[in-house]
Amino acid sequence: MQSNALNISINDVTKTYGDFFALKDVSLEVKSGEFLTLLGPSGSGKTTLLMVLAGFTRPDYGSVKFGNEEVVTKPPHLRDIGMVFQNYALFPHMNVEQNIGYPQKLRGKSKSEVKESVAEALSIVKLDGLGHRGVGELSGGQKQRVALARAIVFKPQILLMDEPLSALDKKLREEMQIELRQLHDSLTMTTVYVTHDQKEALTMSDRIAVINDGELKQLGSPNEIYTNPKNAFIADFIGESSLLPAKVISNKTYLGASEIMINHPSKDDGDYLLVIRPEKLFLANGKEKDTNLFSGIVEGSIFQGESQLLVIKLDPGSFGEQSLRMRLPNGSNIGQKVPISGEKISVGLRKSDSFLVE
């Protein structure tokens, strides 16, 4: 993406609390104009990293650069970056207009300039005409928009967001995800977004940085991370998956007693996990090429609206005692009977969708 916004270079950033490593030698480059998401479970260190960028947490050591400028010692009020807080942190004693105008006033703008920029920001977040409302009179979604308007009104080159949608209900959240992404694209900004919601990360990001135990576990586009997770944690955390224990013995991969095909060069001998995405499985007729076939008994068949979830207990003689999940889209399987509980079925997984993680 072409953009003049500042890039962010994070190098070797480490933060400890006693013996606990909140961040461990994290190095990460956020490209100019990029929408990068820090994704991880709670306590993973993602918020700590964001706080280091904002200047609220001082790391033990490490470097943070905005463009070419080292900012790690710079106090928060001199960093000139926008931030949207998890619970919005709107000033309750100011109305919407005063909240949004606050950073402009601090920047010594004239009254008319403040007014103009506030009106512009309000229209960007689609709250025209609500300037005189008190903060307490707003709905959750409106507060979120005010917080956003306040963070972008001074046209910062970097925008940080700390789980800004987590307090909204699901429907509104999904709308806002698209809207936030469009907003990012229309403004010249580098955005760092923190969330624990993998779906949100997949929806919004140019790249995702998966963080766990204070470490950067994987960095890549949503597609890369989804289709090629580096380890079992990421495979499990991002998207749905069944992880089945597999063994590699002299270049051959076994699931229980059966040999299976995998999509990458064989790994060293040892124990691995086969990652199976439920939506990649299909009902097999035995004629498919380059496909691993799993036979078993349907243990559960659950209607979930857009799809049918099947829990399949694999044939223990061939694959060992384990079960996997399969998702059949509803509506596109016309002509196919939806398997019911207790039915014996055979499902296929293409070689290209089969891979092992440690």
Binding site: A54, G55, F56, P75, P76, H77, L78, R79, D80, I81, G82, M83, F85, Q86, N87, A89, L90, F91, P92, H93, Y102, P103, L106, R107, R150, F154
Partner: protein
């Protein structure tokens, strides 16, 4: 059997609601009795007696005296002056201390709070006399200062306004700190972070965000201190050395020396009315809930 006019169980459920409300109301009955016999009736009696003159007939003389007699006017002025100054001192000492406490971790703030509360739980009389021991002519502070050569003559700390103010401010400080602390704790720390992120220096963030948000707690504290000060008796009596005469002391002397219940009642009524008036004005500024320290 199906009922035609009534929904199923409607009457029974309504009855249950009524029963629960009645039980809840029952809990307030002992308190209402107390209020009635110990507050409403005595205050009514007070009110009545304030209109009884020396000769036992109805008259306004008790109130007239308050407007015409110089000594009464002076007593009211003293009462307000001492209350106002005590409140001011409490605010100047209490606000920074409470701010400091609100920024500590809960554990350390708890320890500081114990420091605030221990004197609060000690008898008022004990603390008043303790100040007398410390501050009097041959008291601890004067002796040490003279021994160290800071001063040659003892400073007159007590039996005047300064002694009264020191004692009263010490006693009243917790009343300011408690509601203010509750208020400051409830201020969203992210608001201050947001202010900093948006470009405010720490000082600017304090004055534009923290201070305005702490005003309800501060007003609540100031109000409690001021209103309690209006009725102070022991501390000005002991530390003022007879030179500081506040309304409560005049009430007592009216009864004990002059047996003039009418004059005492009139003073009491005026104090009560003034207090109510202040509370009314304050309730226009802050909601009553906040005076209890709630957000």
């Amino acid at each position: 059997m199906a009922l035609i006019d009534e929904h199923v169980n409607e009457a029974v459920l309504k009855n249950l609601d009524r029963k629960e409300n009645f039980t809840l109301f029952g809990l307030t009955v002992p308190y209402l009795f107390l209020i009635f016999f110990l507050i409403i009736i005595p205050v009514g009696w007070l009110f009545y007696m304030s209109f009884i003159g020396r000769d036992g007939s109805y008259s306004f003389e008790n109130y007239e005296r308050m407007v015409t007699s110089k000594s009464y006017i002076r007593i009211f002025l003293t009462t307000f002056k001492i209350s106002f100054l005590t409140t001011l001192i409490c605010a100047l000492l209490g606000y920074p201390l409470t701010y400091f406490m609100s920024q500590l971790s809960r554990k350390w703030a708890g320890i500081c709070m114990i420091g605030v509360l221990i004197p609060f739980w000690t008898s008022l009389l004990v603390r008043t006399y303790a100040w007398l021991v410390l501050l009097q002519r041959k008291g601890l502070i004067n002796n040490i200062a003279i021994d160290l050569g800071f001063i040659s003559e003892p400073i007159k700390f007590v039996h005047n306004t300064s002694g009264t103010l020191i004692g009263m401010a010490h006693i009243m400080l917790p009343f300011l700190i408690l509601p203010l602390y509750a208020n400051m704790r409830a201020i969203d720390k992210d608001c201050l972070k947001a202010a900093a992120n948006l470009g405010a220096t720490p000082t600017r963030a304090f004055w534009t965000v923290f201070f305005p948000l702490s005003i309800p707690g501060l007003l609540a504290g100031l109000l409690i201190v001021f209103v309690i000060c209006l009725g102070f008796y022991v501390t000005p009596a002991v530390l003022g050395g007879g030179k500081i005469i506040m309304a409560a002391m005049k009430i007592s002397s009216n009864i004990e020396l002059y047996f003039s219940w009418g004059a005492a009642s009139a003073l009491g009524v005026v104090l009560l009315v003034v207090t109510m008036l202040i509370l009314y004005i304050a309730s226009k500024l802050v909601s009553i809930d906040q005076i209890g320290g709630n957000k």
